[in-house]
């Protein structure tokens, strides 16, 4: 919301030397946010000019510039050289005869942009013809200002070249721009801003709504306010003031002062009737609508739209109406407008209009908000109604509009005044005046609390409350629909004293539990991988429907069951990942594409397992705790989202250098990374031979807990996957379920006592068939060797003639140790033989 300082001065006592910055600071102090400050830094000569000649000159760069001469009156080159001002202009929306705004050499535009005569495109340009944006009048930069368009032909006709445009357009006036939060709808008006300024400074506020308002009578225009289906029991319209002005010259010029103010607010003056309604809205915050009375058939009213109804709105869009849209209709029940949003074309005030019906109504914020959103139509009116308009100001707003049309359009006000007022009365808030002190932690004496509430317009009494106590009854002002409970009033008390007065007191909870076991495990997982050379990345969880085919998932694979979004960022990525690898692989690819040959990345994050039988999550509404059954249904509808960790790597895992060549990452690295997480958590993970997409069928290992619970998979990606996803050949990857690791740990591990007796080592070489996994052989050795086996280490795999085709020889070092004495050679041999026997029995191993 823009607030010109000169306008503000009319409504509040502003010290003569107060700058725009001072005013902004005063407003910020009571809770408005400063968005900007413009004006005040402009300097003449900036004058009205009449374009005399325009010579288009095409340039080498493809642009065409206009070499113009402009009559700027007794200024510039007329004075120094006796000729018209010569200016180069890049815009094309004007021609000879047009009145424009020229800044001449020596002038300064907003932002301290100083203008001088300068050589450009082969000419000396003596100034500039200005656009609205260059003058700080909004964002319009489509072309230069043509004054007959900006101010209207009639106003423009009264101008003479050389007239001061700074005064004409109010350019010298500082304009404070503030951001209005959704609870402060009343600040979408000069009336509201001035009220806040007075509150902040303790000065006087002159309410522009205090004017002589004609009393309602029975002679006014027929208004039939109905609502067949109120939203949440709130009628769509609870007040409708209708006034008529007859014999208005709607082509009459908008007065200069009004055009100037509208321009300062970033609005374009259009016609008298429109400008008057906009002006009143900006001053009082009450959106108005002007109808051409002759297009209405005896009366107006409100009702909800009917299915299939249509309305062409003022923006020339034919809109299909929704049964929830509140409409303004005429006596024949014909739709005229979407209430509080936009009027219709059929009843628009035009140059031919003589009799005008002014509507000043109060509509349900929710109803307006829904219509606005449904039709994707945000207007100055809908913006205000959504945030709450003062329902008490309607009659004054209509009166002011009537007065202005009479004064400037030569009309006559009808004596009939309609005011359908169906507002429900608002009850007071029972308020404990000690609440601000208790809620804020700063002492607010009772007289300050009551004084502040009165200053913001509340009616504070002790009616109906216990006598002599600290509890009072507070009736908020009509323009503050946002004040509904105690804390709302606390905020008013706190902001008027100032939030800067609130002390800083550290809250002291009882001793906390620290991080949970799961949170600590995640840090261990993340740090363990980073310490082994992997780099953590964080990816977006959005994936393409074709990804699961590219990953080679079987048709019934549960990982195809992805949740999807109604409104994805990109239509190509509508699904949510079911594995972290889904999106991590793309991060790997991007790194490789950016020239990183050797990359190892990992990510810890949630994945979403699509619901088997989706249930709708109930949405029971605000302020009330749902019953247990509803809460259970809400929770149950949320899909499972386990936390996974995934790793992916390509290129060298050990770098080449002065010490020798590098080593390519391979499937065993992925398995080692996966197992390292178990080691880091004191968990003995098991590696099993398996097959699993998207991995190479012969180079993937399953990682499980001792009890067989699957933790995840690791290995080399399937060649088809690397090729489909444009990844380097032999990319390796792993994905583990961190929640499983968390669940499997957390019970304090019980230490094994260490034996100080010497270990005994013995080596065995076992020949097995090629397809026997080493892990099986090792498991058999362990089971056969018994408790005294300390470790089993595979130190060599041999394939060749001596073991025969289709076989391999696995060489193991077994280490035995007893807790209570040194083992004898015979004992060690016996243990080894037992281990080998178990391996032979379970895997067909033959000792070499």
């Amino acid at each position: 919301m823009h607030a010109p300082v000169s306008w503000l001065r009319e409504l509040a006592d502003v010290p003569a030397d107060a700058t725009g910055a001072d005013i902004a600071a005063a407003l910020v102090r009571v809770g408005l946010e400063e968005e900007g400050l413009s004006g005040g830094d402009i300097k003449g000569p900036i004058v009205v000019g009449r374009v005399l000649t325009v010579e288009p000159e095409p340039q080498k760069n493809g642009k065409t510039i206009n070499w113009c001469t402009v009559d700027v009156g007794e200024h510039g080159q007329r004075v120094t050289e006796g000729k018209a001002q010569e200016i180069v202009c890049g815009a094309h929306n004007f021609g000879p005869g047009d009145l424009v705004v020229c800044v001449l050499p020596g002038g300064v535009l907003p932002g301290g942009f100083e203008i001088s005569a300068r050589k450009t495109y082969g000419h000396v340009s003596n100034g500039m013809i200005c656009s609205a944006r260059e003058l700080g009048l909004g964002d319009d930069h489509d072309g230069i200002i043509v004054l007959s368009t900006l101010l209207g032909a009639e106003a423009a006709a009264a101008l003479t070249p050389g007239d001061d445009a700074i005064e004409l357009l109010g350019l010298a006036d500082e304009v404070v721009e503030v951001n209005v939060t959704p609870d402060r709808g009343y600040c979408f008006s000069l009336r509201g801003i001035a009220r806040e300024y007075a509150l902040s400074t303790g000065g006087v506020f002159r309410d522009p709504a205090h004017l002589d308002v004609a009393a309602a009578n029975d002679d006014g225009y027929a208004v039939n306010v109905t609502d067949g289906s109120p939203i949440d029991g709130v009628p769509g319209c609870d007040r409708y003031v209708a006034r008529i002005v007859r014999g208005v010259d709607t082509t009459a010029a908008t007065p200069q002062w009004m055009s100037k103010r509208l321009t300062q607010l970033g609005m374009r003056p259009i016609s008298l009737a429109v400008d008057v309604t906009n002006y009143v809205m900006m001053l009082l915050g009450q959106p108005l609508h002007a109808f051409d009375l002759s297009t209405l058939s005896g009366g107006v009213g409100t009702r909800r739209a009917r299915p299939g109804e249509k309305l062409t709105t003022l923006d020339d869009v034919a809109r299909a109406l929704d049964p929830q849209d509140l409409l303004i209709v005429d006596g024949d029940d014909r739709p005229l407008a979407i209430a509080g949003v936009m009027g219709g074309e059929s009843s628009e005030v035009t140059a031919a209009t003589t009799d005008v019906l002014i509507e000043a109504a109060h509509f349900d914020p929710i109803s307006v908000a829904r219509s606005s959103r449904r039709h994707k139509l945000t207007t100055e009116a809908s913006k205000r109604f959504e945030r709450g308009v003062d329902p008490a100001v309607a009659a004054a707003a209509a009166q002011l509009a009537v007065d202005l049309l009479v004064t400037h359009g030569g009309g006559t006000a009808d004596p009939g005044v309609t005011d359908v007022d169906q507002r429900s009365s608002r009850g007071p808030i029972t308020f404990d005046t000690t609440l601000p002190t208790r809620y804020v932690g700063l002492d607010y004496p009772q007289d300050e609390v009551v004084g502040t509430l009165r200053a913001i317009g509340c009616d504070v009494t002790d009616e109906g409350v216990a006598e002599g106590g600290v509890v009072v009854a507070v009736l908020p002002p009509t323009w503050r629909p946002d004040l509904t409970d105690g804390p709302d009033l606390v905020e008013e008390v706190a902001r008027v004293r100032g939030y800067d007065q609130i002390p800083s007191v550290l809250p002291t909870p009882r001793a906390g539990h620290g991080l949970t076991h799961g949170q600590r495990v995640r840090r261990v997982v993340a740090n363990t991988l980073a310490q082994q050379g992997l780099v953590e990345v964080l990816t977006y969880p959005f994936v393409a429907p074709g990804l699961f085919d590219a990953l080679g998932y079987a048709p019934q694979d549960v990982r195809r069951r992805a949740e999807s979004l109604v409104n994805p960022l990109s239509d190509e990525l509508p699904l949510l990942r079911t594995s972290v690898l889904d999106t991590l692989l793309e991060a790997l690819r991007r790194n490789v594409a950016r020239g990183q040959r050797d990359v190892a990345v990992y990510e810890l994050g949630l994945v979403t397992i699509g619901r088997d039988e989706p249930s709708k999550a109930p949405v029971p509404g605000i302020e009330v705790k749902p019953d247990d059954e509803t809460l259970a249904r809400i929770r149950a509808a949320v899909p499972d989202q386990p936390r996974h960790v995934a790793m992916a790597a390509a290129g060298d895992v050990e770098r080449g250098g002065p010490w020798g060549p590098g080593r390519k990452v391979d499937a065993s690295d992925a398995v080692a990374w996966a197992l390292s997480l178990g080691t880091a958590l004191g968990l003995d993970l098991v590696v099993t031979a398996t097959e699993r997409a998207p991995w190479h069928p012969g180079r993937v290992a399953g990682i499980t807990l001792q009890d067989g619970t699957v933790v995840g998979y690791a290995g080399e990606l399937h060649p088809k996957v690397t090729s489909a996803l444009d990844l380097p050949a032999r990319t390796v990857a792993a994905e583990l379920d961190v929640d499983v690791l968390v669940a499997a740990t957390g019970v304090p591990l019980q230490a094994t006592e260490l034996s100080t007796y010497p270990p005994a080592h013995t080596d065995v070489a076992l020949v097995v068939a090629e397809d026997v996994p080493a892990a099986h052989v090792e498991a058999a050795l362990r089971s056969g060797a018994g408790d005294r086996l300390e470790s089993v280490q595979l130190f060599d795999i041999y394939r060749g003639e001596q073991v025969g085709d289709g076989h391999k020889s696995l060489a193991y070092r077994l280490t035995f140790r007893a807790a209570e004495r040194t083992l004898t050679t015979d004992e060690v041999s016996a243990l080894r033989d037992a281990a080998v026997a178990a391996a032979t029995e379970r895997t067909g191993a033959v000792q070499r």
């Binding site: 706190a494 007191v505 906390g512 949170q519 050379g533 979004l565 109604v566 991060a587 109930p618």
Partner: protein
């Protein structure tokens, strides 16, 4: 060699002549001194201390002397052998010292070559900042609460007093999970975790809710549709806005530096009342530099929103607002990272380029 002298008669034995002995010692010392390597010294040792050396031979002749002469000759030869032995030991130490020096020189490596065979990896700085923030609050006695990213609409909106007509609920900001009307969204803030916490446990509650959140913004230099937030929630008896300010002040001092304080400005959020915007003093210029790039010369940096938990929210989460009050705040982790570490472009944070994470290492 002479046979044993049984007659006790003095016999002249040439090898035991003092002059001969002295000469043998002199020869040995000269040879030892001349030895220029450990190998040469070994040869000298063999020649002058070995079994065939003149002094060894002389020693054997002592037996042939009459008892009266034995003592003197033995003493002479013993002293001579002692002198040779000392010379050998000294030279041995000298040569070994030289050898050790030489080996150290020969073993010199050029350690300015920076080429680790297995480079260390790195954490993502968002994770590191997040953990740092978690630790700050854990140190104050708070706990870390978490929840799902695909969340129910009721927990994400209604429970927080965001009615169905609130603008933030429209498609403009929120990702909705299909099918339309499923009642599920990608959470737009971590506030549903606050609600879950209040539903699941009794006050006093002191929790921080960090996590990933989603809004339908396009990725650009300062926005990302997927980002990270941390929200704080305190619900206890007698909690005031002064406690809110105290917690925020303590937090910014731990993260940005001692002496930094926050400033609260009135604002509006549906889930808090009273509500405030949180500004933090500029830790770079302290408000002293009008051209400061961190704060834009204002001396203050916008951090997020906060306020006293709206009583409607407490009621929706089953907390009695007559007995308890609470405060909540929400700040962005990306923004904290960008401000604290001068990250200029959001793309670097979200694109997963390993070069970005590697700059930060494992701790920030």
């Amino acid at each position: 060699m002479s046979g044993p002298n049984k007659q006790y008669d003095p016999v002249e034995v040439a090898a035991l002549d003092p002059a001969v002995i002295d000469q043998a010692v002199a020869d040995a010392v000269a040879a030892i001194a001349a030895a220029d390597s450990l190998d040469a010294l070994k040869a000298a040792r063999l020649a002058h201390q070995g079994e065939k050396s003149p002094l060894a031979l002389a020693n054997r002749e002592i037996g042939a002397l009459p008892p009266s002469a034995k003592a003197e000759a033995g003493k002479r030869v013993g002293q001579a052998r002692g002198r040779v032995g000392q010379a050998l030991t000294a030279r041995q130490a000298e040569l070994e010292g030289e050898r050790d020096e030489r080996i150290l020189v020969e073993e010199t490596m050029d350690l300015t070559v920076r080429a680790p065979r297995r480079p260390l990896g790195a954490r993502h700085p968002i994770s590191l900042v997040s953990e740092r923030i978690e630790d700050i609050f854990v140190a104050m006695g708070w706990e870390i609460a978490e929840g799902p990213e695909v969340e129910s609409e009721w927990l994400n909106f209604d429970a927080l007093n965001l009615s169905p007509d609130h603008p933030a609920r429209g498609e403009a900001d929120t990702f909705f999970v299909a099918p339309a009307g499923s009642g599920l969204v990608l959470r737009t803030h971590t506030s549903p975790v606050q609600i879950r916490t209040m539903l699941d446990r009794e006050p006093p509650i002191y929790v921080l809710c960090p996590g990933k959140v989603f809004r339908t913004d396009d990725l650009d230099a300062t926005h990302t549709p997927v980002f990270h937030q941390f929200e704080g929630l305190v619900v206890d008896e007698g909690i005031t806005m002064a406690h809110l300010k105290g917690a925020l002040d303590a937090f910014v001092q731990r993260l940005f530096g001692d002496g930094i304080v926050t400033r609260l400005r009135p604002n509006y959020f549906p889930f808090t009342e009273p509500s405030a915007e949180i500004d933090c003093q500029c830790w770079v210029c302290g408000g002293q530099d009008p051209s400061c790039r961190t704060c834009g010369g204002t001396g203050w940096i916008e951090l997020g929103g906060c306020g006293m938990v709206n009583q409607r929210v407490l009621r929706a989460a089953g907390v009695d607002p007559e007995r308890y009050s609470g405060f909540a705040f929400g700040l962005g982790i990306e923004r904290s990272l960008m401000l604290r570490h001068g990250v200029g472009d959001m793309h670097d944070i979200v694109e997963g380029d390993v070069r970005f994470s590697r700059q930060f290492g494992m701790e920030i």
